[in-house]
């Protein structure tokens, strides 16, 4: 009965089943039926991605041409023939100073991605060198009871990603610890349900921006006199408050809709409240709680960008905003890189939740 854990099973468990057909392709063991699945699950997605990149390339090119023509025409009317010719030559030469500012092409985005990575490597090396140099000094400082000197240089793109992930997980945990217990209480008690219902209905649709402002008002006052940078606190609390509603509603629904037979069993056995909740109610509502948590995590990731931007909290949101303000030649491409990174991380977070859900839940149908 012992089942070996093969790569295929792991990938399927994580909802990445399409990867398993790849293995068959490389080992050359594919019958007709498998080949069909391979076509549908691997070739079609890759083809659609290529098509997307192609359309994007053409779209970016025509936008580039429109912008370039407009620029040249403007130079012609404003500064005359000579300037227009010079500008045309400048654009054609590819010099960065006179390039039209529009949607970047896929290759530009790829270049920006590489340059961001290079930038990260430089910063990381710089940071490592800094830490090495200050190690001895910091030791004596801590011995004297002084604060250690920390690296205060510009964060790299990768650092920003990790900052964002940190914020989103802090917010997610906050949502988890508020929404799941509260949802259980609301689901168990019709009185609490009617007490909280209006509250949920009113606050659920509130925009992340407003949540941010609300949290800002409160945290600012609470942290009066403290020198600490409150931007991280404010942004993770806002993320948590924005995203907790799905979990709250789903938990309450799951708890209040536990199969009546299970409740009857608990009643006949006279299980105490603690036992009833942990042995019957919670396991039975776990699939719905996880559906809620999955939505919460994706909402948290989505609103994070807007909230970081407002809170000036370091992270991908702030990165996007700074690049937009910066307006450098490759800023637009960097924004698109951030967009893809945000999307891919969002996808991975969703898969992560699905994996955990399959792990803990008795209901093995994968809810996607």
């Amino acid at each position: 009965m012992k089942q070996s854990l093969t790569l295929g099973k792991v990938t399927k468990f994580m909802g990445l089943g399409f990867l398993s057909t790849l293995k068959g392709l490389f080992t050359g063991k594919l019958d007709k039926e498998e080949f069909k699945t391979f076509l549908r699950k691997t070739v079609v997605p890759i083809a659609s991605i290529l098509l997307f990149i192609g359309l994007w390339h053409m779209g970016a090119k025509s936008l580039y041409n429109i912008e370039a023509d407009h620029k040249i025409e403007k130079a012609l009317t404003d500064q005359g023939q000579e300037a227009a010719v010079a500008l045309r030559a400048c654009i054609a030469s590819g010099e960065s100073g006179c390039q039209p500012n529009t949607l970047p092409s896929p290759s530009q985005v790829w270049d920006s991605y590489k340059s961001l990575l290079r930038d990260h490597n430089i910063i990381a090396a710089d940071k490592a060198a800094f830490i090495e140099k200050t190690a001895a000094l910091n030791e004596t400082r801590t011995a004297q009871g002084l604060d250690a000197i920390t690296y205060t240089g510009r964060p790299s793109f990768v650092d920003q990603i990790f900052r964002s992930l940190k914020t989103v997980f802090a917010g997610f945990l906050l949502a988890l610890f508020i929404a799941v217990p509260l949802g259980i209480f609301i689901g168990l008690s019709p009185t609490l349900k009617s007490a909280f219902n209006w509250f949920i209905q009113i606050f659920k649709p509130v925009s992340p921006v407003v949540w941010y402002l609300l949290v800002f008002m409160i945290v600012k006052t609470l942290l009066i006199g403290s020198n600490e940078d409150s931007s991280f606190t404010i942004s993770f609390i806002s993320v948590g408050l924005c995203s907790m509603w799905a979990t709250l509603v789903n938990t309450a629904m799951g708890v209040s809709s536990v199969d009546k037979d299970y409740i009857n069993v608990a009643k006949v056995l006279k299980l105490g409240n603690f036992q009833k909740i942990f042995k019957v109610v919670l396991p039975s509502s776990l699939p719905l709680i996880f559906t809620g948590l999955k939505i919460t995590l994706s909402v948290a990731w989505m609103v994070l960008i807007a909230i970081e931007l407002l809170a000036q909290s370091p992270g991908l949101g702030l990165f996007v905003w700074e690049e937009f303000q910066n307006g450098a030649n490759d800023s637009n491409a960097k924004i698109i890189v951030a967009m893809f990174v945000i999307g891919i991380i969002g996808f991975l977070l969703d898969r992560l939740m699905l994996t955990i859900q399959n792990w803990v839940s008795f209901d093995k149908t994968d809810a996607i």
């Binding site: 037979d261 006279k270 299980l271 039975s284």
Partner: protein, 276 residues
Amino acid sequence: MSVIMDNKRETSLVGNGLFPSKDVMLDLKNLKKVYPTPKGDYVVLEDLNLQIRKEEFVTIIGHSGCGKTTMLSMIAGLNPISGGNISVLGKHIKGPGPDRGVIFQSPSLMPWMTTLQNVMLGVNQVFPHASRAQRTDIAKYYLQKVGMEDSFNKRASELSQGMQQRVGIARAFAIKPKVLLLDEPFGMLDSLTRGELQDILIEIWNKEKITAVMITHDVDEAIFLADRVVMMTSGPKAKIGDILNIDFERPRTRKSVLEHNDYYKYRKHLIDFLEH
């Protein structure tokens, strides 16, 4: 109509030594159940009187919707009583409790638990002072009795309906209730599995002799298992219509019951009642 008559008959039966005990285990007195509806009250049960003795197995038959399940869930304490009372060993019941074990129509096992954990859930509750090893032994003993000794660690969701109901039987017996209530426990099974489970149930019951009340739709099942078959009139205002004593010796085998001269007489009696 025949309650009083029936009591007389029972007295004589006790005299004959057919009933092991004279003690009344379960007593339903003037039981009434009313569901309020927008069009006025709907009376499901009225003036229902039934006494069930210790170590007796009673099956209840009647048409669908006559209130059998309502009555059983009232005995279990899962459905509030509108009038009259129910007592177990002379004490009025107040809500559900492990002194009245229930085997539900659907097995109602917790699908996230193993079979052993499902049985242990009740055992832990009823024998809190026993050691963990002792409690595990109790649970394993009953699982063995129902033929599930190879599946202690299987999740309930991996089992077939029939297997799940076996665990349901083990769970009910393992908490050693005073009264066992069975709500059409084999109604959802195919006839082959049903026969198997009837045998398992009666075998374990012969050992434990727990007073049992079982609802069934199956006339043969009712005769095979019961000391008395209680027939309920059709609702609304259902009550006990007739009671039939089944005088087969225990332990019974299916074969001996089917070959008994009285079998078809009993069967005809029940079918005549149901067809009226």
